[in-house]
Amino acid sequence: MSNVSANSEYVSYLDHQGKYKGIMSWIMATDHKRIALLYMYSIMTFFIIGVVLGIMMKLEMLTPGETIMKAKMYNSVFTLHGILMIFMVVIPGLSAVFGNFFLPIHIGAKDVSFPKLNRFSWWIFVVGSIMAVLSQVLKDGPPDTGWTFYAPYSTTTSSNVIMATAAAFVLGFSSILTGLNFIVTIHQLRAPGMKFFNMPLFPWALYATAWIQLLATPVIGITLLMLIAERAFHIGFFDPALGGDPLLFQHLFWIYSHPAVYVMMLPAMGVITEIIPTFCQRQIYGYKAVAVSSLAIAGVGFLVWGHHMYTSGMSDTARWFFSLLTFIVAVPSAIKVFNWITTMYKGSIDVKPPFLYALAFIFLFIIGGTTGLLLGSVATNVQVHDTSFVVAHFHYIIFGGMGFAFFAAIHYWLPKMYGKMYDFKMANIGLVINFIGFNLLYFPQFIIGIQGMPRRYFDYPAKFQPAQLVSSIGGFILVTGLIIMIYTLVKGARKGAPAPANPWRGSTLEWQIPSPPSVENFDEEPVIKENPYDYK
């Protein structure tokens, strides 16, 4: 019946012949590993488009006044950049790609609980993405609201807001189904002998993430439906002329979108928590603290959304309350940083590209996190609200954090996913250029933000010219680094030297099986260790 059975020779999931052939064997795939690759290819495509849009903005900001585009065009470009990068790249990014690939393997399972649902999630992800593209080309013109769709502008602008919000709604549905699948998988499919506290910390992070995806996404779903109804029927929820309240939209929007930041960040932290013990050959410091802090972040993260609304006319009581909660949610994140650094202490550190990316992550995340505290405190927030300081802050978190964690993850797991190794020297060169480019691009924006450069403006006074120039140059350097990195990875995955099963001497389950894994992951029953980070 099949060529894969308990004692026959091993066939990798990439070569396996199932019911479907050729391209259909991918589109119809239910194997979590193939679905992970499908997500990765789609997400990388959107990422590249997003980067191109980013570079267009940097070109525009090269000189004051109109450089390459008009103000209206600039609005559309940053809106599309936001929608693409948030809804189609960073939110699905780590959990749909590396979560799909490694969650079942980490817990000793053959697949997720609902493989067909998993495939369906990817399909509707593609449908949502197509709708997002359509919103750009349909006749009313691309949306110009920013990715936040704030009312009342989003209810009155003539651009294609309905299509864009419907796209976000569908993408949200895909995210919900992935989260649902992961929660059930972790509850039901852990290998015999693997209790919750025997799991590696990446599944822990994914578990916390999945709860956020599951419980927060419906709120944005209904909010976007209300927005569509507001445009279609003037239901008045967000229209002050009809008695509604635009602030209510901001509440509903951030009830989802603040937790969504943790949908991006928690798996990123999970990746780093995997990489650091491996390259230090040392047990993770404070396993339980790291595991529980993921849940704490997810829980408290639900209650702090108001820190995005300090200047929008919220009550004073709510402002100090949200500020307090925001400071509390920083604690579990800090716990993780302390534990990563302590894990390195006295470890036998092996400086390889994944580890270097992890270090870059920690550096950038600390800058992003501490400037986040500045924004979480009402007094300072009021000064820098809606300036490029905020832009710099969330790029340090989302790109420097989630993005660099994604790069770390791909450098860490590429040998397992493709069974090939990439060129370390080229990878390191790419890393250094990325790191320099990134900081040049975003750090100046902190400074001019404090000096009063507003965000989402295509023009600026001449005094910001030097900083904007540095920032734009940083953008070009970063793109060079990204090209080198992607080239190195693609070349490695296609023509690299064969990778051994365990190139980094890792201790979690994925390193016990061949590279690339077979269809069923474990042709023999995996050995479950009580401590997943058991280094001698």
Partner: protein, 205 residues
């Protein structure tokens, strides 16, 4: 067919399916939760107007629909009991009764809505835009919430229809009834939401 998919299919995991359904119900609860949040804020801001508007609704129709939904919730639970006892006839009967109740609910809703439409009261209508603020918001909420709820009734009915035919074809039976169980859970969810909608919409004294 590859052994991979064969493997997945032979390992039926009802526990997983049920947990999955519960998680899906959570998302539905929060979906409606967003609307209840909007409701609570506008009710706080326009208490008098909300009361005036609720007098426009017929408590009788609302009460009948409540009873119908509660009753159907019981019959769908009874169809589960019947399946577990391997009593296919009763199971079919109870699913049928549930579907019938669902239809009654929708017919009632239809008359209720068409009455409003008849008076020119519907989302986006001329009359709606001339109502004062509190009244406008109340009726927007009324149409949005009961409309979304009715949509869920239709989804639930579709699921129960599928179950009905599967019971007849004997693909749902006393050894394998997780689909019916999940559809029943979904149906109870619809009931659960109505339990809150009814007093909040119809009974503002």
């Amino acid at each position: 067919m590859s052994q991979h998919t064969a493997h997945i299919e032979e390992h039926r995991d009802d526990e997983a399916s049920k947990l999955g359904m519960w998680l899906f119900i959570f998302t539905e609860l929060l979906l409606f939760g967003g609307l209840f949040l909007v409701y609570s804020i506008f009710r706080m801001q326009y208490p008098v107007e909300f009361r005036e508007c609720s007098l426009e609704l017929s408590v009788t129709i609302g009460a009948i629909n409540t009873v119908v939904l509660l009753f159907s919730s019981m019959t769908v639970a009874m169809s589960m009991t019947a399946i577990q006892k391997n009593d296919m006839k009763k199971a079919l009967l109870y699913i049928g009764v549930t579907l019938f109740c669902a239809a009654i609910f929708l017919v009632n809703k239809y008359f209720e809505w068409s009455g409003k439409f008849h008076h020119g009261l519907y989302p986006g209508s001329e009359l709606m835009t001339h109502l004062d603020r509190g009244h406008h918001l109340y009726f927007s909420l009324y149409f949005f919430m009961t409309g979304l709820h009715a949509l869920h009734i239709i989804i639930g009915m579709t699921l129960l229809f599928v179950c009905y035919f599967k019971v007849r074809k004997n693909t749902i039976h006393s050894q394998d009834y997780v689909l019916l169980e999940n559809s029943a859970l979904y149906w109870h969810l619809v009931d659960l939401i109505w339990i809150f909608l009814f007093p909040l919409m119809y009974l503002i004294s």
